[in-house]
C-alpha cells in the first residue's frame, strides 16, 4: 500500500431534499487536509448538486453551492460528471456551475475541474479508486 490512496466521493442524491449532498461536501472539505488523491463523482441525481443558479432564500436553508466552487482552492481537481445522468435529466454541461483549479504543472493556468465522462468511464473510475465514500 502506498502512502497516498485514491479517494473517490460518489454523490448520487439531489440537494436539499436530504442533507447527504451538503454533508458529503463537508467531508470533502475536511478530507482535503489529508493530502490524499481526491476525486468526486456525480452520478444519478447527484448531478443536480452542480446545477447552477440556486436561490435558497424562500426555502430558508443555507446555500452551500459556493463551497463547490471553492473546491479548487482545496486542491480538488478531478470532478467527474456522468454524461448519461445529465442527458436523462435534460441537462447539459452549460447548466452546471463552473469549477476550476490552478494547474501547477502549467504555470498555474486556471482549468476546469469538471470532466464529463460516459457511464462506462464512470464505472472504470470507481474500479480504479482505493476508497469509495458513498453518499
Amino acid at each position: 500500500m502506498s502512502d497516498v490512496k485514491k479517494f473517490l466521493y460518489v454523490n448520487r442524491k439531489a440537494p436539499h431534499g436530504t442533507i447527504y449532498a451538503w454533508e458529503s461536501l463537508e467531508v470533502v472539505l475536511i478530507g482535503a487536509a489529508f493530502e490524499q488523491d481526491v476525486a468526486l463523482a456525480f452520478v444519478d441525481d447527484g448531478v443536480f448538486q452542480l446545477v447552477k443558479g440556486w436561490d435558497t432564500g424562500e426555502l430558508g436553508v443555507k446555500n452551500f453551492q459556493p463551497s463547490f466552487t471553492a473546491l479548487g482552492d482545496y486542491d480538488v481537481q478531478k470532478v467527474y460528471v456522468e454524461r448519461e445522468a445529465l442527458e436523462e435529466r435534460g441537462l447539459t454541461e452549460g447548466d452546471l456551475i463552473e469549477m476550476t483549479y490552478e494547474d501547477e504543472d502549467d504555470d498555474w493556468a486556471e482549468k476546469s475541474s469538471i470532466r464529463i465522462v460516459s457511464r462506462e468511464e464512470m464505472a472504470a473510475i470507481m474500479a480504479d479508486s482505493d476508497v469509495i465514500l458513498s453518499f
Binding site: 439531489a14 440537494p15 441525481d45 443536480f48 443558479g53 435529466r89
Partner: protein, 101 residues
Amino acid sequence: MALLHTVNKSPYQCTSLQSCLQHVRAGDTLLLIEDGVYAVLKGGKAAEALSAANGVKVAALSADLKARGIGAEKMIDGIEVVDYGGFVDLVEQTDKTQAWL
C-alpha cells in the same frame, strides 16, 4: 371528492410520482414539492409522464424550484408555480391530501 396529491421525491430516484400518476383522478391536483420538483425539467425523461397526466392540475412549489436552480426556462409547459401560501390554498380548495412519501 377532489384530492391534493403531494410528491416529494425525485422521479429519477423514486417511483412515487409514477405511482401517484396511476392513482390520480380527473379533477385532482398534483403538487410537486422538495425533490419532487425535478419532474418538471424540460427534456428530462420524467417530464413525459407528467405531460401525459390528463385532467389533472399540476403545480410545483416555487421555493423548491428556486433552491435547485430551476427557472421558468427549464420547465415544461403547463406547470403552475405556487408559493407556500399557494400550497395552503390548494389544501383548502381540495377535500383532502394524500402524501406520496
